[in-house]
Symmetry: C2
Subunit: 228 residues, 2 copies
DNA sequence: CGATTAGTTGACTGTGTTCAATCGCGGTGG
DNA sequence: CCACCGCGATTGAACACAGTCAACTAATCG
């Protein structure tokens, strides 16, 4: 078994949607995928290109963004180990409407449309897993949409901090990306985010340590402003 | 065959996800669903309730909204004949985080979580159809997200008008909902929408007739502003 | 045709963006 | 381990956009 093959099996094993499969089936699927590596900053695909592959993140982080008509970019999501993208490719010859950029050294498992369709036909239970994941993301996207149109930036930021705290099970949160990216995700600018965080710190609600660490001191106050 | 049963079969037949099934299978599925009717303004479900059913719209319109933390409502989508909602119920005992309201006399086919899971297990091709629909909606939601964070309301409105024109294959567009709802959908207020439309009319770009009809006179100009 | 609801318009205010200058964290090499 | 440099982050000032509240008008339905 080649090093490469071993790597691919490993890649497939990692992914929630392929769990609960027989080992030999997993090997067969692995043999259909191939591994691609990217350095930080490399583009994985561009808007306008044909969408022909399902990408599964094995290692690293991938940033998916969309260019707004006015030229600014909106961060849609960050993929980490086990996440996938490109599921729309399954159905029709689509055109990407977003950009995917590796934001750290990254390893992806890539499967062609045809191969993945075949896999799904053979393993219906996988399509349920994919459906579950996509449904969940839709729900998330709708949540974010609601937040984006809450005009008050402070509310969006407070919400986001509380979400992070819950996700990370601690009040000492580590920002998963740069403040620039967070601002883009929250539909505001770096400057506004910075100002709001400073003002929260002045009020004693949070404590910023370095560029990526925030300690939540008064969750209750943060929660309050999201509800008025 | 009772009138009720006949109705249900009809309801199931309408829906894209159940197409390409044998007649008897369709009848079996129909027998698992039951029909619910609502008047304009009736609530179908509330946020906070358990999500136990898949709802398929047979007739009428359903408005799905989300309450923002600050108390305002964001319109997520409008369902029409053949659309469905509640697919998240398939996977776990979820809680609704949105409100569904009938916005005209409406007939729904309702299927319980258990029954629908059983149907999917028997007909894997249906889960592919559901996946296709959900993927498509995710893509739409991401598009809307991008639009929502375009700070300029005029851009969002122009984009929306152009989308409608494309959807309806004409420059004489009919608004699919009230201006109040459109404003909510676009993340702005009734007043701002009204002002922007008036200003577009002054510039000679559009022509409003009554409350729901708009003729696009200078699509090119509308397109231009969305790209700066 | 009249009532009721939807939409329009005006004046004011507040928040966030923009552009530009400066700061300081954190990684790199000595 | 410390000093340096570059980029991310912060801060300031001016302006403009859109939200709010309130009064008014127009359209649609029975």
């Amino acid at each position: 078994m080649s090093e490469g093959h071993h790597l691919k099996t490993h890649c497939i094993q990692l992914v929630p949607i392929f769990q609960n499969l027989e080992t030999e089936e997993m090997e067969r699927i692995a043999s259909l995928s191939h591994v691609q590596t990217y350095d930080k900053g490399d583009m994985i695909y561009h808007a306008g290109e044909e969408e022909n592959f399902l990408y599964i993140v094995h290692k690293g982080k991938v940033k998916v963004t969309r260019l707004m008509e006015n030229g600014k970019e909106q961060l849609l999501r960050i993929l980490e180990s086990g996440d996938f993208m490109g599921e729309l490719a399954l159905f029709t010859k689509n055109i990407h409407d977003s950009y995917a950029e590796s934001s750290s050294p990254t390893e992806l498992c890539v499967i062609t449309r045809e191969d993945f369709q075949e896999i799904l036909a053979k393993h219906p239970e996988i399509s349920m897993k994919v459906l579950e994941e996509v449904s969940h993301r839709l729900s998330q996207a709708e949540k974010l949409m609601t937040q984006l149109s809450a005009q008050d930036a402070e509310i969006r930021i407070a919400s986001y901090l509380l979400d992070l705290a819950e996700e990370q099970h601690t009040n000492n949160i580590v920002l998963p990306m740069s403040k620039k990216d967070i601002a883009s995700y929250l539909g505001t600018t770096q400057e506004t985010l910075s100002r709001k965080l400073s003002s929260m710190q002045e009020k004693g609600w949070i404590n910023q340590k370095g560029h990526r660490h925030i300690r939540l001191l008064e969750k209750e106050s943060l929660f309050q402003i999201t509800h008025s």
